[in-house]
Structures are given as C-alpha cells and as structure tokens.
C-alpha cells in the first residue's frame, strides 16, 4: 500500500505492507533512532516518534495509519550533525549512558517544552512516563529538562552537573562530556542492530516448552524444504561438546555443562532447534514446521527440591575434571544418555545430587563465639530471581570475511567471546574477530555468551551473514537472571553490641546450567562479611541446579543479596539489643587501619590474605547521612494511613579481581599531534571510553578533543578481561594511564634527541609541547619525525595493568519510606546514597551510575520478580507484567553524594563506582519498613502483599 506523509519536515511516499508497523517501516528506511525494546508491547517507549506533535509508540501504529500526518524522529533535530538544545542539555546533565533510550527521551522533552516551556517536576515525570531507562535512574533527566528550558530564554545558560574534584588535574574530576554522547544523542548508527545488511539471514530458535524433558526426536524434514531456509541445527547436527557461557577468565570457575543444543532440555526456553533463513518470515515458517517429541520429566523448581534425596537430577552426564579429583563421595558416572560435565578444577560439586558447587571457610571459632554471646539471633532471607533487562536485548551479527569469522557483538567480554566461540566453532583464535559495538545496557547479562556461539557457528558453517536477536520474551526466559538465594544469618553479640560470631549459610539456585554458579554466591559473602569486624566468622555456600531460568551475572554479582541478609540481620540484632541500628554498625564496622582477617578466607579461588585497610570513608558517609536525616531527632509523624520509617546500611564492593585479571591499552601519537587510544576495555555506556580518553589527554597535556578512542575490538585493540567485577575504571583505566605514561616517556626521549637536551630537563606541557631549557618541540613535530625515513620510529605507548592490591569502594545508604498500613504499599520519600569511588574521573557520570544502580536495586527490592507456574513456565516475560521502575517510582528526594577517598593504585586515585550502588536498597528499605510498621520483610521484592503478610494482616 502507498502511504504519503511528512517525515522530519519532508514529503515521504512509501510502499508498505498493510501489517507493517511504523517502527519497522522507519527502520527499513534507515531511520535507526527508533529502537525496539519490548517487541510491540508498547511498554518501553524507545520506538517513540512525534505524530502530529504528540509522542506515541511507533510499534503500535501501522505505517499506513500515518497517511497525511506529520512524523518526526530525533533525526530531525540532528540535521547537519548539530544538536538541539534538548540533546545538548541531556549530554550536559550526564543523561547519556548507553544511549539506547536517548532519542526517545529527546523527543519527549521536545514535546514537553513545546507545550510547557517552564515545566514542573510533575510535568517532566509525566512526559517521560512512557520511556523506560535502565541505566540512569531517571533523576538527571529532571536536570536536563531544567537546563533545556532555561536555555530557551537564556541560550548561554549553564550549570554544573556535579561537583569538581582533583583541582590539580585538568580533565580528571571535571565534567568534560562523554566521548560518545553526541553520536548517541543524534541516534546515529551505533548498535549491532543498526549495522545489519539487507541480505543478512535471520536466525530464530525453537525453545523448549518444558522445564525438564528428554528431546527424543526433532524432525526438521519439513522445515528444511521450505523456501528461504539456509540451515537447521538441532542436537543431532550441532558440535558435540560442552562449554560454559560464562565470560570469565580461563580456566573458568564454572562447569562446562552446556551443549549448543542439549540432549535434555533443562528449562522452559532451552534451545531445541535453530533455523537460519533468508527472511524473518521464512525463518518463522520453518520454525513452525519443526516437529519435536519430548519425554517430559518432573522438574526441580526450588532449592529445597534440588537438595531433597531422590530428587530429579538436572544433569546426569559423566562428570570429569581437567585438574584435580572429584570430591570424595561424589558421583561421576553418567547415565549414558545425558551431556557430560567438565569441571576445570574442583568446586566441591556433586552434580548428580544437583549440587553444582560449594565452599565453606571462615576464621576463628564460631561455636565459641556464639557461646560467649549475650544475644544470638538467626534469620533467613530470600532474594528472588530478577532480570537484568538491558533495554537492548542480546543481539549479534556474524559474518565471514576473508576466510575469518567476524562477530559484531553487544558484549561485556569481547575476548572471552572470542575464546569460547573459537572453541565452539572449531577455529583457532586468530581466525575469529569480535567487534564490540555500542552496548544498549549490559548489567551482567552480557557477560555471558548467550547468542554469539550459535550465530558464529551458523555463519561459519553456511558462509552467510547471520543476524540473531533475542526478543523481549526470550530475554526474560533464556537470558541470565540474578541467582535466587536463601541466606541464613546467625549473629551473636555482647550486650554492648560487640559481635562475637557471624555465621552465613547461603544456598543459591543457579538454574539449569552452572555459569557463575560459585562466584556469584561467593560474592554475596565476600562483599558483605568484610564490612564487619568479628574474630569468629564462617560461611557455607552451596549452589544447586534447578529447572528454572538460567542464572548468571547481574550488577553487584551476588553482593546485593549478601548485603540484604547481613545488614538486615544486623538491624534485627539491634532491635533485639534495644540499640539504634547505626550505633550497632558503628560498634562493629571496619574503619581506617582495620585489619580485615576474614579476607584470609575470601581469596577468589586462590589463598587469601588479611588486609590492613588504608583510609576508609565510612565514618564521614554515615555522619553526612545522619545529619541529612536528622537521625537523632524524633521520627516523622504518621500521615493518615501512611507510617514513616527510615533505615540505613553500609555497603562495599571491590574494584576488579586482583591477581586474576589483566587489562591492556595502546596509545598512538598521530600526525598533527593527536592521539589514538586503543583500549581493550568494553564500554557498556558506563563512560569507560571517556575514562581512557581523559587519561590520555591528562598525561599527554592535550584536550579530550585531541584523543580518539577505539575499544573492545579483538583485532585492533589489546587484550582486556572485559567489563565485569567493577573493573572498568580500575583495570582498563589504569591500563590507559600506563599506556599514556609509556608514550609520554617515549616522546620525551625522542624530544631529547631532537633538542639535544637531557630527558630530565624536559617537561610536557599543555597543549602537547615538550619544553626544554634550550628549546621546545611539539607533539605534532615528534609525530612527523616518527614517520620520516630519517626520524625516530612511530611513537606508541603500551600499558598493561594487573595488581595484587584490593581497592574497596564503600558507601552508606539512607532511606525514608512511607508504608500504607491498609494496602501495604511503599513510597520512597527520601533516598540518599553516600559513596566513595576514590577520585571520581567523570563526576556527573559517576552520579548517574549510582542513580541508575540504586533504581535497579529499588526495582528488585519493591517490584521485580521473575515468576513461574507449577511446571516451571515463566509467567511474566514482558515489561507489562515484569515491572521495572519507571520515572514515577523515583524517590521524591533522591540524592547522591560522592565522598572520595583516593586509592593509591587506582587511576588518579579512582576506584569502582557502579556495582556497589545496588547493595544498599534492599536492606535499607527493609529496615525502614520495619521502622514504619514493625514488621520485618525477609523476602525481596517487598510487595504490598508480602508486607501485609509480614504485618499479620493477610493470612
């Protein structure tokens, strides 16, 4: 059908099919700024356009319906590569993180300012109510709206997006703009889905409808004969090997227990078959033509069931170990039918009893400690499964070029992807290239190889270009979730609050496969126990296989659940002792100079060692929170049915994995005296490329505009372990610092030769001038000499970073919550996060990371939970039913404050900032709820129903 309309101010006349949505039509015509985050639910708003001046979702409009209408996308505001006032305001307010939602936010604010030039906070909230963002936590959008509004009247208006730090430095600690923000704000081609050629084949997978079943027979004969079908893969013709999808350093602490297509499906959504076809419609038709015979088995749907003697066995294949022996008494003989399991080294596992991994250790004597206690409490806390929900689902484009396999990936771990895909496809690593594109949110889910193995295999096998994208339902069912955990905490204390013993028993549900099965639960211990000083502490961790959705990494990596259990238990102990909870924390917390003995037991798979803490900012952070919340003043009065309560917690995280991981960077001096940073780091929207750019500019005496950065490309950039474990700034940033220092040294040496002076007499000053006692030379001149026949060699710096030093960021989160005693609803009136990230490299972006982290944690604390029926079928596979916070859920007084304590090893004193911010919400909110209504909520999310039950008002 023909549709005539106005697109971005120009007449358009398109031929479209009757059922084509406006979103599909726009993207087909190259308007890629409209994004698909919910597959037609209309719940994410990322496909928004202005239709006759009003913001609407283009996924819910047929293209033919815009006949005679005016359609505007963000591309209108980006003509000639310019930025509108709104786009610039979003950049200035540090609102562009992954950038996947930025075009939609831009349109919403343009529409708002058109009808309300001086909008109130409520109007901003209303305008952005239809746009979901998982990165930013929404708070800085209010600032962007204010800036944009003021600039309507006063074009030069400016305001600081954050305080400045490190006054001795030019770029570090200052807001200089995120290096990729403008391109993302313009809606340019940046993501994998924007780079799909029109002749790419489409890959779809047939997923198991059963939680646990043998795949008896897969009949693909009809599917293979259908037009357009290029290949069909099943258990019968896929590579016969097992691997782990965990993007961790090799050898991985995760069992290799996953076959590309398993002989036995282990969760609803598990892979049964894949179809590669020349069009999406042909792939769908072929998928529908596949016939499968299952032998349905009873599923394991809980930890209790998994550990029950005689329970169904999730994995019954032969168990072997690359290094080391099986634990005594464990079963290793397979049933002769199931896929094998290969452990790289022992994890105290017994898979045939559904135990994927376990560990127990501690210091002192807890039995003695409990015997010495005046008060002992024991409580069990449960954190349910939650989904990372990056707004861009898992997606990959795989192709063969020059007899090599090339993957354009949305990943946190390009090098781990290369290693795993190489192995799965059967290629040496030099035949595989991974190019990390802009990532529309990762949050841990993209630390796993969820789609790349299959797409890479089919591209190599067929020689065709393969596009594989999870839809939103697949993202929920078969991506990676935060492990469900049940944590029992036993605390003993003297009457004065001194802890005498701590025991944490943690059971985790790793789901059908064992990626991160030990390391995530262990992080719940290793990022919570070291906050408290106690001579007797012990932990026991067990991770079980079940037939629920696959678990994996999610921001915080277990720490949010450990923090929830231990910090809430501490508050419960304070209540038992009749103490103020902060008084009890103060009595037992780590502080500057503390000797942290428990780290002897928390060595991340290696022998641990006690650490003497340097400076610790917890005291200052607690003091600021107490003052802001008038902690010692009487509580707020009740407001009708609403009771007011408050809670506070201390939190910590790490900064990468000392002794385990490494990062590298290369910095090239280019003609004209500019720089090319080749960073192995994977920027997920976090601003890592801005960190490496700042490092180069700061050390080389240049401006950030003088530096270009290429990152996360396994061909052109050096190895980096990837973006996980809070390592980005600390590891990849430090590699960039070292590369810049190396280049600077080489430049000074070359200049010394050119100037005939000693290196010790030279200094590199802004902007790129080497000054000596007798003369000077510019970086441009040095670069020129580097490419001349008679000059020195090309000047390139290389930086490698690894460390044994553990850098802990700390934080204190304070919450004031209102709880409705009739309905059980919770409103967050105040949320203050005080956090130490060392020297903040990008202060406003650091604030944004924390706002975003807190809002994700508010989500798992109050709203989010992946639900299953009695057969293990997931029930809420979209944003209509799985509720992540919108801008309406942002606390009324939402405040983040950086309290920096510089780290001696971190880049310019920096530490990690993002993951830690997810550790405070659940315990702080639980404590506030108790403070308000006297009921302890020990299972997240704290839904109104659970709160009413805890209050005894619902049976």
């Amino acid at each position: 059908m023909k549709v005539n309309f106005e697109l971005n101010g120009r007449a358009a006349s398109w031929n479209v099919e009757p059922g084509t949505t406006l979103l599909d039509a726009l993207r087909a015509k190259g308007i890629v700024s409209v994004r698909n985050g919910c597959d037609g639910e209309g719940s994410c708003g990322l496909c928004a356009v202005l239709l006759d001046g009003k913001q609407v979702n283009s996924c819910q409009i047929l293209a033919v319906q815009v006949e005679g209408k005016k359609v505007y996308t963000v591309d209108f505001y980006s003509k000639d590569r310019k930025l509108s006032g709104v786009q610039q305001a979003l950049i200035d307010a540090a609102c562009v993180q992954c950038g996947y939602c930025t075009p939609a936010v831009t349109l919403a604010l343009h529409e708002l300012l058109e009808r309300s030039p001086d909008p109130s906070g409520d109007e901003v909230r209303d305008a952005l109510s239809g746009t979901l963002c998982r990165c930013t936590g929404y708070e800085q959008f209010f600032n962007a709206a204010r800036i944009a509004a003021k600039r309507l009247k006063e074009p030069a208006y400016a305001e600081a997006a954050a305080p400045e730090f490190a006054p001795e430095l030019r770029h570090v600690g200052k807001d200089r703009g995120k290096v990729d923000a403008a391109a993302l704000a313009r809606g340019e081609r940046a993501f994998v889905e924007d780079k799909v050629p029109s002749d790419a084949c489409h890959l779809l997978i047939l997923q198991s409808p059963h939680a646990h079943a043998w795949v008896r027979k897969v009949d693909v004969s009809k599917a293979e004969k259908l037009p357009g079908v290029v290949a069909v893969v099943t258990k019968d013709n896929c590579p016969d090997q097992v691997y782990t999808t965990a993007g961790q350093g090799f050898p991985e602490p995760s069992p290799h227990d996953q076959r590309m297509f398993p002989r036995k499906v282990r969760h609803v959504g598990d892979r049964v078959a894949a179809v590669l076809a020349e069009s999406l419609e042909e792939a769908r038709a072929a998928l529908a033509a596949i016939e499968v015979e299952y032998e349905v088995l009873p599923p394991v749907l809980s930890i209790a069931e998994a550990r029950r003697p005689g329970a169904p066995v999730v994995h019954h294949g032969k168990v072997s170990y690359v290094v080391g022996d099986p634990p005594a008494g464990s079963s290793t003989e397979g049933d002769g039918r199931d896929d094998p399991i290969v452990y790289q080294f022992p994890l105290h596992a017994d898979p045939h009893r559904n135990l994927a991994a376990s560990v127990a250790d501690g210091i002192g004597d807890v039995d003695k400690g409990f015997a010495e206690a005046d008060v002992v409490i024991e409580r069990t806390y449960k954190g349910n499964r939650v989904q990372c929900t990056p707004m861009e689902p898992h997606v990959v484009l795989a192709k063969v070029e020059a007899d090599r396999l090339v993957l354009h990936a949305s990943t946190q771990v390009p090098w781990h992807v290369r290693r795993i895909v190489s192995r799965v496809v059967g290629l040496p690593e030099h035949k595989v290239r991974i190019i990390k594109e802009r990532v529309g949110g990762g949050f841990g889910a993209k630390q796993d190889i969820v789609v790349e193995d299959l797409a890479g295999y089919l591209a190599w096998k067929t020689g065709r270009t393969v596009f594989f994208r999870y839809d939103r339902a697949q993202e929920f069912a078969a991506s990676r979730t935060r492990h469900l955990m049940e944590i029992t905490v036993k605390l003993g204390a003297k009457k004065d609050g001194t802890l005498t013993a701590i025991l944490m028993k943690l059971d985790a549900d790793t789901g059908p496969y064992g990626q991160h099965c030990l390391t995530v639960p262990m992080n719940a211990i290793s990022k919570s126990l070291p906050l408290l000083l106690c001579d007797n502490a012990r932990f026991e961790v067990k991770s079980y296989y079940t037939n629920l959705a696959p678990a994996g990494a999610y921001q915080g990596y277990g720490a949010p659940k450990g923090s929830f259990a231990l910090q809430t238990a501490l508050a419960e102990l304070a209540a038992e002792l009749g103490m103020d909870q902060l008084e009890l924390i103060e009595k037992n917390r780590v502080r500057s100079g503390s000797r942290i003995e428990i780290l002897r037991s928390l060595g991340e798979g290696r022998p641990g060692a006690a650490v003497t803490l340097g400076e610790c900012g917890l005291g200052e952070m607690i003091a600021r929170g107490k003052k802001a919340f008038a902690w010692d003043a009487p509580r707020s009065a009740a407001d009708g049915d609403w009771r007011i309560g408050r809670g506070a917690v201390i939190i910590q995280q790490g900064s990468g994995l000392p002794g385990l991981d490494a990062a590298n960077a290369e910095l090239r001096l280019l003609q004209g005296g500019t720089l090319l940073m080749l960073s192995g780091g994977a920027d997920l929207g976090t601003g890592l490329d801005t960190v490496t750019t700042k490092a180069a500019a700061e050390i080389m005496g240049l401006d950030m505009e003088d530096v270009a950065v290429v990152s996360g490309d396994t061909d052109t950039t050096p190895f980096d372990k990837g973006a996980y474990a809070s390592s980005g700034t600390y590891f990849s940033g430090n590699a960039a610092v070292k590369a810049a220092e190396d280049l600077k040294r080489k430049c000074l040496e070359a200049a010394a030769v050119m100037l005939g002076e000693s290196v010790s007499d030279l200094v590199l000053v802004h902007r790129g001038v080497v000054k000596g006692k007798k003369g000077q030379v510019t970086l441009a001149e040095l670069a020129h000499q580097g490419v001349q026949g008679e000059g020195h060699h090309e000047l390139t710096g290389f930086g490698n970073f690894k460390t044994e030093h553990a850098a802990f960021p700390y934080g204190a989160h304070f919450v004031e919550a209102a709880v409705n005693v009739r309905s059980g609803e919770v409103k967050l009136r105040r949320y203050h996060a005080y956090q130490d990230c060392g020297t903040p490299i990008n202060p406003a972006l650091a604030l944004g990371q924390i706002y975003g982290g807190v809002m994700k944690a508010v989500g798992h604390s109050l709203y989010e939970e992946l639900l299953f029926d009695e057969k293990g079928k997931p029930l809420n596979l979209g944003f209509l039913d799985y509720k992540i916070p919108s801008i309406y859920e942002v606390p009324e007084d939402f405040h983040v404050e950086l309290v920096p304590v510089a780290d001696e090893v971190g880049p310019f004193g920096g530490k990690s900032v993002s993951e830690i911010s997810l550790n405070g919400s659940a315990p702080a909110i639980a404590i506030a709820i108790h403070d308000a209504v006297g009921a302890w909520c020990r299972e997240w999310p704290f839904t109104p129903e659970r709160i009413l039950r805890a209050m005894g008002k619902l049976s």
Partner: protein, 273 residues
C-alpha cells in the same frame, strides 16, 4: 498480523466493512496491535481504521457531559469539561505515550477487566450512542445504557454521555504494582447523600471477574445506610469480592486491595462539579 487495511470514509462504509467476518475496528491500536511488531499477536485479518470517523470531541452542557469515542485518554485527562474522577481514571492508563494514542472507544470495545474507564463510567450510569448497520445498509444511530451495550457490544461506539447533577458524589481508584502497571483492581463509585444515608449507590469494579462490571451485592451493603468508616467498609466488602491468583498477586491479596480502594473511593467521593 494485519493482512488487509481499510480506511472507510463514512460510517456506512465502516459498518459494511466490519460486517465482513474477520474484520476488526482499529483506532489507537494500543491494545489491538500489542505484539504486532514481532508477529506474536496472531492473525488480526482485516483492520478497519475508524479512528478518524468516530467523534472525538469532549464537551459539557449544563449537567450533561459528552465524550466522543475517538477521544484519546490524554485528551480526557486534560479536559476541564470532565469531572476529576473521570480524568483521574484516564490519567491512570499506562503512560503518556499510550494515552496519546489510546481511545475511549478502544477501552470500551476491548472491555478488559483492567479497563481504566469502564468502572467510573458505569458508576456514573453513562449512556452510549452507537451506530449499527440498518437493513438498508445505512448507518443508524442508537442509544443504550453503557452497561447494557457492554453485554453485547454491537455496532460502533460513537459518544458516551452522563449526567453530573448537583449532589452526586463520585470517585475512582485503582491498585497496581507500579504507576504504569496493568491494574490489579479498579473501582468507580457514585452516590448521593440524603440525611446522612447513601442513595442511588453505584459501584463498579475491575479485577474481580473477566470484565469490569457493576457490583450489586456491594451496592446493597451500603444503600440507604450511613457509610461505615473505611475499616468497616473493608470488612463488609472483602468477603464479597471474588478474585483469582495470578502474577499480580494472590486472590486473598487482591480481595484486600479491592476492599481498600473501594473504601477509599466511597470515603473520598467528591461532587462532580
């Protein structure tokens, strides 16, 4: 998947097109086209776009308010001609993107249990003007109580009207997990007070059956009597609510939430003008 798209120019043409089996009326499309993007909606067949054919004006003459079926939720929420309880219900629909597109007519046609507008319109005893195809093939206009029309949903909804006389008190409410959530429970309530006693009480609720409907048993609890306090209302109402357990909560919880929003609505009902 929509296989055929028609955009009739007249009501006569629209009704003729809709008379063909497999045809659906399309206006805002926010419910009808869910999943259309990814082909998960199933076969919608022929979409007959009536979005610009049905009235979309909103107005008030004296005590009579009229709302065209083509009016969007955002238009309802923004209209000073409408009482606060109706605007509040319109504003509770999802988010601004959706409200800019979703229409009153679509809400009535879909007639879901979570429908945002149906409970308050039933409580206001609204009347619906709708078009049907006459024997001569021409469009004929009919009028019926909205409650009656919802039981058969024949023809094409055109205009909803209701009286907002002095002395009538009304309120709407909803319960949901987050602000932009599908409602767990909805309520609309209207009544007069005579000598301290409730008169002409109408209560409609969603979330307690396949459709949002009037709740005669609840109405009977309070008709002709002085309203109890909120706790009293909840205690009387909760046993009469019938709910199912699903991902939004257990049946017991939904009954509790329903009773709470009913109590809030009855206690907080305000004059319409």
């Amino acid at each position: 998947m929509v296989n055929e798209y028609l955009k009739p120019k007249t009501l006569d043409e629209a009704l003729a097109a809709l008379a063909v089996p497999g045809s659906v009326a399309l206006a805002g499309g926010t419910w009808l086209l869910v999943g259309e993007e990814h082909g998960t909606k199933g076969d919608l067949g022929r979409a007959v776009d009536i979005g610009e054919l049905v009235p979309s004006d909103i107005g008030r003459k004296g005590t009579t308010a009229r709302v065209g079926a083509g009016a969007t939720f955002q238009a309802l929420a923004d209209s000073p001609a409408l009482p606060a309880c109706l605007r509040k219900s319109a504003l509770s629909m999802a988010n601004r993107n959706t409200r800019n597109r979703a229409t009153l007519g679509g809400n009535l046609g879909a007639d879901k249990s979570c429908a945002s507008l149906v409970p308050i319109l039933l409580a206001l005893d609204a009347t619906l003007e709708y078009a049907v195809r006459g024997a001569d093939g021409k469009a004929a206009t009919k009028t019926a109580p909205l409650a009656a029309w919802l039981e058969r949903k024949d023809g094409l909804a055109l205009t909803v009207s209701f009286e907002a006389p002095a002395g009538l008190l009304a309120a709407s409410g909803r319960a949901s997990r987050t602000a932009c959530d599908v409602a767990t429970a909805t309520v609309g309530a209207a009544y007069r007070l005579e000598g301290g006693a409730v008169k002409d009480l109408r209560i409609a609720m969603g979330g307690f059956g396949p459709r949002a409907r009037r709740m005669p048993k609840l109405e009977a609890l309070f008709e002709g009597k002085a309203l109890p306090d909120k706790a009293g209302i909840e205690k009387l109402a909760e046993p009469l609510l019938d709910a199912i357990s699903d991902q939004r909560g257990s049946a017991a919880y939904k009954k509790r939430r329903g009773a709470v929003i009913l109590a809030d609505a009855l206690a907080g009902a305000e004059a319409l003008s």
